[in-house]
Amino acid sequence: MESCNAPPPSASKPGFLGFGLGLRSQHYNDILTGNPAVDWFEIISENFMVPGGQPLQILDQICERYPVVMHGVSMSIASTAPLDFEYLKAVRTLAHRVRPKWISDHLCWTGVHGINLHDLLPIPYTYEALDHIAARVHKVQEVLGRPLTLENVSSYVAFAQQDMTEWEFLSELTRRTGCYLLFDVNNVYVSARNHGFDPIEFLNGIPREPVVQFHLAGHEDHGDYVIDTHDHDICDDVFNLYRAAVERFGAVSTMIERDDHIPPLADVVAELDRARDIAADVLEHFPTKWTPVRRRKCDKTKSYSADPIPSDRNVL
């Protein structure tokens, strides 16, 4: 096993941003012309890793008004294919523009042999994988000049060869590399149902310190198994697990991912308010940790021209 490495220079844990949403093109107009009660937005980095045109213009307008964090889907940190430094530099270039509070991607691989399957594929929780991924996280953090934030994914298969649990793996990875964690509550729920572990055990197995963000999302329940589709409202079970997560991790920046059957902005904001209420309810009992959420005012004098809107190709 590798020795414990210090986090990269200038790393200070990002603060609590409040309650945010995934930025989706269907909502651009409402966001820029209205004043939605959203504290921050998360972008899918790849949707803005394009040469120019309107997507980047809109992104600039959003960044003027809201804190934005970057969430990638193709770093493929766990792949045994070589790290794609061109991709990492493109992420860094976008980060210069966005000034994100943090940059996240998934603890997964997306392809080998020069092919990208555009899916978040599972890894075996072995020391071999841990050594490999930890070394790559170090390299990524060097290129980005900041700690990487990694998210637990939903998985449908698990490997027979396993040296530790998923939560032990995540804990050890963050201890070795100083990376932060994006704790996806729905993904824990989905994987727990699929593989038959106790989500609370997962939750309690993750250290408090590195967790900088929560994801909430809906899924598709097939009874015997669950698929992480991001196309449904968040179910009560996931909200209950969120309550448990807030009890354990405290005030952590929370956002909702919705990638398909996207409802009007007001509906997602209402769903976000439910998360706010749960967090407020839990954190009332821990007043020292609670920072009241200030809803941002946005500058209504700026106008927005409604030209053709691109679709978000990168979703997950």
Partner: protein, 289 residues
């Protein structure tokens, strides 16, 4: 060190792609079949479902995700082909062209060539051209920014400087020479109306696609205008453009026509200012990751 992880990823990818995997070993390419059972034997049984069914979630999600990308990128082609034929094209394309870019933004880019080269689609050349038009418009939408060379800038050029004036197409510009009435078909589909009967044209239709402010546009150019415009790609002087216009009786006539074309291009935002910094260094392109 990574023997197991690498082997596992290789196996899983082969199973998802449902095909013989090809691996590179120091320059030589080896193909070998990866049976699904090999991978299944390394998986832990899920809580309630069958392992096999759970593995299928990945196989199915891979195809349906890419099919959705194609459907979104080529919505008009899809409407033209109809659901069944488009799904057939998408399925064939997904098998033939696995994504080799980090960003799925560029996954669809080979579809026009695929349709042009693959039966039965190759029997209907308008299909590939409709796809080409649709993707060119999508490319124009988010292509690189550049300061446009405006009509006002053009009219401020003194007569002495015209010959050496650099004519630089805006980075959003795409040129297509269509051999069918694909543009009329595309326009009808885009408007939600019945497309005209497909037909081969007696002479190619010269199309130009570009971005005006933030809006992608397309229009037809005459053969003379297209010849002049193509001479300006990637960047030439006004004199070069005129010299390429050989169909004119003399250079004076050609120059007169070229001035007219240039004014039209400038007014529409098809031209970019010369970036002197970039011109002096290596041509720098924003390469899609």
């Amino acid at each position: 060190m990574m023997a197991n992880l690498a082997a596992l990823q290789h196996q899983m990818q082969s199973v998802i792609l449902r095909r013989t995997a090809t691996a590179q070993h120091g320059g030589s390419t080896t193909s070998y079949q990866v049976p699904r059972d090999d991978l299944l034997s390394q998986l832990r049984p899920p809580a309630h479902a069958q392992t096999d069914a759970m593995l299928d979630i990945y196989c199915n999600a891979y195809r349906s995700r890419l099919a959705e990308v194609l459907e979104a990128d080529l919505a008009n082609l899809s409407a033209y082909l109809g659901k069944a034929l488009f799904e057939h094209a998408a399925a064939g394309y997904i098998e033939a062209h696995p994504s080799d870019r980090q960003n799925v933004r560029w996954f669809s880019r080979n579809m026009p060539d695929f349709l042009a080269a693959t039966a039965p689609f190759s029997n209907w050349p308008q299909m590939a051209e409709v796809a080409r038009i649709e993707l060119a418009l999508a490319d124009a939408f988010d292509s690189a920014n550049a300061e446009t060379f405006s009509l006002a800038m053009l009219t401020s050029i003194s007569p002495d400087d015209w010959a050496t004036l650099m004519v630089v197409p805006h980075p959003s510009v795409r040129r297509i020479d269509a051999l069918t009435n694909a543009l009329d078909i595309w326009i009808a589909i885009d408007a939600g109306t019945e497309p005209p009967q497909a037909k081969r044209l007696n002479s190619p239709q010269h199309l130009i696609v570009w971005r005006e402010a933030t809006t992608p546009r397309i229009r037809v150019m005459s053969i003379d205008e297209a010849t002049a415009f193509d001479a300006a790609q990637p960047a030439s002087t006004f004199a070069d453009v005129v010299a390429a216009m050989t169909s004119f009786e003399d250079q004076r006539e050609a120059a007169k026509a070229a001035v007219g074309f240039l004014a039209g291009w400038a007014a529409a935002g098809m031209l970019a200012c010369v970036d002197t910094e970039a011109a002096n260094s290596h041509p720098k392109q924003e390469t899609p990751a």
